[in-house]
């Protein structure tokens, strides 16, 4: 399939229950502790990620499945993660 079906977006913008692949985690400041922790929790290039649900008020926080684990992330935290959707997103678990 051509690369045209692929888009890079923030995890906070990813529609629910659409599988995507992590591209990178961006530091929002030098030595961003939250970005580092996200990488340590498995938000690393090539990992499959999916937004499973959102909290009841203002759709915050997000319930994110990464690897075999579920995390609650606030939108500001999820915005650090860039993901790719589209056909190439289907990587084996």
């Amino acid at each position: 399939m051509p690369a045209a079906g692929r888009t890079i977006l923030k995890l906070s913008e990813l529609p629910r229950r659409i599988a995507a692949t992590v591209e990178r985690v961006e530091d929002q400041m030098p030595n961003d502790a939250i970005a580092r922790r996200l990488r340590e929790l498995g938000f690393v290039r090539g990992e499959r990620v999916e937004v499973m649900a959102a909290g009841p008020v203002a759709a915050e926080p997000l319930l994110v499945q990464i690897g075999f684990t579920r995390f609650a992330l606030r939108r500001s935290e999820a915005a650090r993660v860039r993901v790719i959707t589209g056909n190439s997103a289907e990587v084996p678990a």
Partner: protein, 618 residues
Amino acid sequence: MSNASAIRLALVGNPNCGKTALFNLLTGSRQKVANYAGVTVERKEGRFHAPSGRHYALLDLPGAYSLHAASLDEAITRDLCRGFYPGEPAPDVIVCVVDATNLRLHLRFALEVRELGKPMVVAVNMMDAARRRGIEVDLAALERELGVPVVPTIAVRRDGARELVARLDAVAETLHEPRTHLGSGDGALEPEALHAETCRLLSLAVTMPRRTAEVDDALDRWLLHPVFGLLSLAIVMFLIFQAVYAWATPLMDLIDAGTATLGEWAATTLPQGPLNSLVVDGIIAGVGGVIVFLPQILILFAFILALEESGYLPRAAFLLDKLMASAGLSGRSFIPLLSSFACAIPGIMATRSIQDPRDRLATIIVAPLMTCSARLPVYALLIGAFIPQQKVGLFNLQGVVLFALYAAGIVSALAVAWVMKKWRRDKNEHALLLELPSYRLPHPRDLALGLWERAAIFLKRVGGIILALTVLLWVLLYFPNGGGDVTQSFAGQIGRAMTTVFSPIGFNWQICIALIPGLAAREVAVSSLATVYALSAADDAAAAQALTPLITHDWSLATALSLLVWYIYAPQCISTLATIKRETQSWKQVGMSAGYLFGLAYLASLITYQVAVVLGAG
């Protein structure tokens, strides 16, 4: 290594890896809970004998996602593993616990620990749950690739750690031999490199039919649903409340009766005089008044522990995070605040689960605003005496007032947290990053040990600082006139002096005096009022009954309303302040909490009284 000196083991692992269950399985009730020197992080140590006769001392380190510490807990784990923690000897062997159903996350941490280059055993826990989900873990391949012993464990089964102990014995044999270091020794691998290695191990050793457990998917769909999720949370909360208030009552009555009998026995056995009064009125009545809350605290903690073990608590935090964050708290503040409705002491103790120190402090500071059960006797007396039993629409006016008092506490807590956030101009992001672990059935052994720990902490506090303060209050009430007229005691003199300050909010000298012993525990104010009005009443209930006509005659409605409002805010509970001291290790925080609560109490009562007087209720 001789058998006489115990081999020091450190148990490490990610949060939710079942580490504490394994610790409980290995050590049983032979554990000691304390704090690490100078900080409020819990330190749990236990001992056990292997069948080989070898002794082990096992330290349960705080759960960590990484040795690159992001919290106080993780920093302690990091320093202890490296042998840098002041006052703690370096561990001989590190036991790294990983959850077989969550290896993608947990193996990463095991690799990080291996980099430290210490003797180490990897315990692959929850092998039973993994098997049920069709997950296959090739332990031999893992052991070959990791280069350290890898053993399966099932922490919830009686002999689930037998193989682990056998391998520990084997490792202990070789401790004195020179070893080749596995890692670089500094434990500083980059996340990407660790991740790549984790993926390699997973592809070699683990087959997984699906990424998530079907049970988790199904439960989360309902329990995190915007409508059904909140509804189930409300039902859970209601159940807890019901249990804390209804189930605890018979036990509390029993303790009350026991205290009374003991008091009577001591009163008749000991010779008359100061000693008699100190033991009966001071120690037995004072300490008994606090111990009476033990059943409520245990029931509450049984629920909290069960919810924690089952994996529901992080879900509750998920549902409420946004609401609480906008007020300057966090989703994790929910359970401590809920507990505070029974009693602020366990509530403040429960803030240990809040990782962000700012969120934790904010939660501790506002916890006393939740209407605890000790306020109820005071509220009941005043509402019964001054609020007419009439219908307001569908509702009973008395009930509406009681509800308003509860609501005022909650709204004030949110407002105070919000002001604190603004005050500090805290622009730093508070991280949530909360793992929602798989649902599990709580194990009775873990619940029982957890409850025992809580009870021990509570009783130790009663034996220490609460006892000391009780004695101090007794001195104020007993001297200098040797237990005669209360109004002539030091407390009485202080009460009279207080009226200059308290007359603007409508308190007469009788109320002021009652406030002093009421510092020991809020509900004591009722029996103190009875004493001040020179009534002899057998117990609080009888005191309230006898008091009602007297205060209805003596006080204006404005005074009664003002006193009700005072009790929403005033930190009339030395035990709570002592708990704040213990949990924050700071007298400054205690001063701040007491200061703002008294300030708010005075201000709110002043407004209530003056407005009520203007409206003609004076």
